[in-house]
């Protein structure tokens, strides 16, 4: 089973990288660009085959390590 995890900054947390990308896209001539937010993405191969147990396991990984829940949210996709 494969877990795909997206980690994004909580609303309200400044995202200088996103802002810089928005600026750079503007310089490159792209128009109509609003907010840009940058996050992280992870793919993890799991031995677990049960979806429910896998989700629990991945949730624990996110809480314990992968996301800094002080400033980040995460969401999990299992395939």
């Amino acid at each position: 089973m494969k877990a795909k995890i997206r980690v994004t900054l909580k609303t309200g947390v400044l995202d200088p990288q996103g802002k810089a990308i928005a600026g750079a896209l503007g310089h490159l001539g792209f128009s109509g660009i609003g907010d840009v937010r940058q996050g992280k993405y992870f793919e993890i191969d799991l031995a677990e085959t049960d979806k429910v147990r896998a989700r629990e396991q991945v949730k624990a990984m996110c809480e314990k390590l992968i996301a800094n829940t002080v400033i980040e949210n995460y969401d999990i996709d299992l395939t």
């Binding site: 947390v13 200088p16 990288q17 390590l65 992968i66 800094n68 002080v70 400033i71």
Partner: protein, 220 residues
């Protein structure tokens, strides 16, 4: 004053820190390897700068979850003094010993330069030889030293005098909230700071501004 310096793989300013501690306090600190589960009996634990685990994932995140940090957390809860510098600040913050988070510099680049620091609180184990309001030169060398926290936490830090160092005179190198360069926990036993006082203690470093910080350890 007995001290220990914790070494994680990828930490690289442990020699600088040990040299400063030894030079100023006269006692050579013990190096503690990250895989150990017990701390030696010391008066102070320092988590030095560097790139623990390459700072992969987030700065300090992986180191914060290592076995030795569990021991440090337990001893810190019992009142042991802990100082985290640069990556050390990031590690102890990730470990929950200090509130908030350190994120990418606002300028998005690593910055190595001299800044000016105001000592905001001199009633701590690392500042008691200084005057509150004193300004010292100190170098920074980091890519992710931008301190952030929620408004509630910020209010408490400021209200309780827990901002220990602030970037002075427009020298904030990273966009940190309220120019915060260093903070402490509620009891004042844990201090974290981004700048590198260990690199400003002898004439070779250009100035010796940060020597009194290490001298403070002797009085505390």
């Amino acid at each position: 004053m007995k001290s220990a310096v914790v070494v994680f793989p990828g930490i690289n300013r442990e020699r600088d820190m040990m040299l400063a501690l030894e030079t100023v306090t006269g006692q050579r600190p013990v190096a503690v390897w990250h895989a150990e589960t017990e701390l030696p009996s010391v008066d102070l634990v320092v988590v030095p700068g560097g790139f623990s685990y390459g700072d992969y994932l987030r700065c300090g995140a992986i180191a914060a979850r290592s076995p030795i940090m569990q021991a440090i957390k337990a001893r810190a809860a019992a009142g042991l003094r802990v100082l985290g510098v640069c990556n050390g600040f990031q590690i102890i913050t990730e470990a929950g010993l200090l509130p908030g988070a350190l994120v990418r510099n606002a300028g998005l680049r690593f910055v190595c330069r001299q800044v000016r620091l105001t000592v905001e609180n001199n009633r701590t184990f690392f500042t008691n030889r200084m005057q509150t309001g004193a300004i010292v030169s100190c170098p920074v060398a980091h890519g992710e030293g931008n301190y952030i926290c929620d408004t509630e936490t910020l209010k408490r830090l400021e209200g309780e005098g827990r901002v220990v160092f602030r970037y002075a005179e427009g020298t904030n190198p990273n966009g940190a909230m309220n120019d915060i360069a260093g903070i402490m926990n509620e009891t004042g036993t844990v201090i974290g700071m981004m700048p590198h006082p260990e690199n400003m203690i002898e004439p070779l470093h250009g100035r010796t501004d940060c020597r009194p910080l290490f001298e403070s350890l002797l009085a505390a």
